[in-house]
């Protein structure tokens, strides 16, 4: 068993209830995708599973332990087994690609090895191998601010693969990639999960990618699980109901942004916005 949520709820500091009554059980080496309209709580769920957020209610069991009942040392050890891919990679722009990737194992390495690796990279071959899987081996020694958004996102994925976690969490991991690259990158994630028997839990904006690569789909809307089914049993009606608030149009790779509302209504909005310019002369 990889993780098990029982009636988990999450209320943010500002009182916003991001998740409630979430019960999910995902086994070892299982692959599941969570989909849903924006604001459904996909990122909150991922952050909860990555122990970046603490649930406000319910029971959370991660890789066999309740992380929030562990002493600090055991929680840290548990965290080294969880790798989170962020939508925008949290990599300082001036870091070299190789340093950014080697940082994936800082949790496992003793501190002196991590610091020494800044002087001379500790594992060039390992970083190169993982980067090669994303067609970026030639950028190994480039600085991250020289990369495009899509390249950086792939470096972010490569860092987590280099970490070799038992649980891979991915928050819209391919949002900055064009369709062909997105497909290839997801393929790499899936094959990594198969090869190392790691669990893969990803939130995806593009429904077609979720249906293609994941055997299990979890529909999330307004902080609640709407459905949790094997992909074959997810029907078109369920999907369009899930995205009803976005006009029932499914976001896919070809059509990433479903229209928020009807275009006629949007045009009417422009009127009053143009008139109010009080601030422009208030600072006189």
């Amino acid at each position: 068993m990889s993780f098990d949520l029982k009636q988990v709820g999450l209320t943010h500091g500002n009182g916003f209830r991001a998740l409630h009554g979430i019960s999910l059980r995902v086994g070892r080496a299982e692959r599941a995708a969570v989909i849903g309209p924006s604001g459904a709580g996909k990122t909150s769920l991922i952050r909860l599973l990555g122990t970046a957020l603490r649930p406000s209610e319910g029971r959370l069991d991660l890789l066999g332990d309740n992380p929030w009942q562990q002493p600090a040392g055991k929680l840290r050890a548990l965290r080294t087994r969880i790798g989170t891919i962020h939508q925008s990679p949290p990599i300082p722009p001036r870091l070299r690609v190789i340093t950014a990737i080697l940082a994936g194992r800082l949790g496992v390495w003793p501190a002196w090895r991590g610091l020494l690796s800044l002087l001379y990279p500790a594992d060039i071959a390992g970083a190169e191998a993982v980067l090669a899987r994303f067609d970026l081996a030639d950028r190994l020694f480039d600085r991250c601010d020289r990369l495009s958004g899509g390249q950086l996102q792939r470096v972010g994925i490569a860092r987590v693969l280099y970490q070799q976690p038992d649980l891979i969490l991915a928050d819209e991991p391919v949002s900055a990639l064009d369709p062909a690259l997105a497909d290839a990158a997801l393929g790499e994630l899936v094959s990594e999960s198969e090869r190392r028997q790691a669990t893969l839990f990803a939130s995806l904006h593009a429904v077609d990618l979720a249906l293609k690569w994941f055997p299990r789909i979890i529909g999330l809307r307004a902080g609640e699980v709407v459905f949790d089914l094997p992909t074959a049993r997810v029907s078109d009606t369920m999907l369009s109901e899930l995205y009803a608030a976005e006009g029932g149009v499914l976001p896919t790779q070809a059509n990433p942004r479903a229209p928020v509302r009807d275009p006629g209504e949007a045009r009417m909005d422009i009127g009053p916005q143009k008139i109010v310019k009080l601030d422009a002369c208030r600072g006189r």
């Binding site: 990555g50 122990t51 790798g83 001036r94 940082a103 949790g107 991590g114 008139i275």
Partner: protein, 276 residues
């Protein structure tokens, strides 16, 4: 822009300028008060520029300035001046370096990473170090550590720690948190997480602050010599007080060259870091 605002709605028109009368009153009141303050200051301080420009004082000034020339260019003395310049440079260099290291150490708690109490405490220390000027520190250090460059180095280091510590703390505080947080979420401990996650975000800014302070500290180190903290300043004070103007002139020229060279190099380095 103004025309736009006027045509948009009627209510906006009221806040457009109503003509010259609208701003002249406050301008005139302010400048009047300022003028009165300046005149009152002159009267209070008894400053008489007239005597500065009389023929007699002009002659005595010319005599004083003339006594500095020609500067003493004896090779033995030039060597002494060069040695003083190197000492001044070393004082500023080591002082700034110590301050950067100590500043970074105190900046970590001051940026609020280790809780509110630690932040308040370290900010208090930084404020204390910063609010005492270098010259006062130097006087105290000369009493504590004796005459010489060691006292100057300590004085510069103490004051600069306060300045750099605060700048570093602000840089760290304003840096995005996510890079370091994501490393901690992957089980990384404090020091490597900071070095990989936050330091790369603030490094260039901190180094630029360090160079800037180095430029200021070179100038400061020359002054500190006056209270016995070694280097060119001490030489200048010594030769001036026994009326050896020619030697003093050489020392002044050495100071000028030292400041120019360091400013130039530091400018170039900072510009290069900003580009790269």
């Amino acid at each position: 822009m103004k025309a736009d605002a006027r045509t948009a709605t009627g209510s906006i028109e009221s806040c457009a300028p109503r003509g010259a009368a609208d701003f002249c009153l406050s301008c005139m009141l302010t400048s009047g008060a300022l003028l009165a303050a300046v005149i009152a200051s002159f009267a209070y301080l008894d400053i008489d520029f007239g005597s500065l420009f009389s023929g007699e004082s002009a002659a005595s000034m010319a005599g004083f300035v003339g006594s500095f020339f020609p500067p003493d260019l004896d090779p033995a003395f030039l060597r002494k001046a060069a040695y003083g310049a190197v000492q001044t440079f070393a004082v500023a260099m080591i002082g700034t370096l110590l301050a950067a290291a100590a500043g970074l150490l105190i900046a970590l708690p001051a940026s609020g990473r280790h809780g509110l109490a630690a932040s308040r405490m370290s900010r208090f220390i930084l404020n204390l170090l910063r609010s005492v000027p270098e010259l006062v520190w130097a006087t105290l250090m000369v009493l504590a550590a004796g005459l010489g460059p060691f006292a100057g180095t300590l004085a510069l280091a103490l004051h600069t720690t306060g300045v750099l510590g605060r700048l570093f703390a602000e840089a760290i505080e304003n840096a995005p948190r996510l890079p370091e947080q994501s490393l901690r979420d992957a089980g990384c401990v404090g020091v490597p997480a900071f070095v990989y996650g936050t330091l790369p975000l603030v490094w260039t800014q901190c180094v630029a602050y360090g160079f800037y302070r180095l430029e200021m500290n070179i100038r400061m180190a020359t002054v500190l010599g006056f209270v016995g903290a070694g280097g060119l300043g001490q030489m200048l004070y010594f030769h001036l007080s026994i009326f050896q103007q020619a030697q003093a002139a050489t020392v002044l020229i050495a100071m000028f060259i030292l400041v120019l060279v360091v400013d130039f190099l530091s400018d170039r380095l900072r510009a290069r870091m900003a580009r790269g």
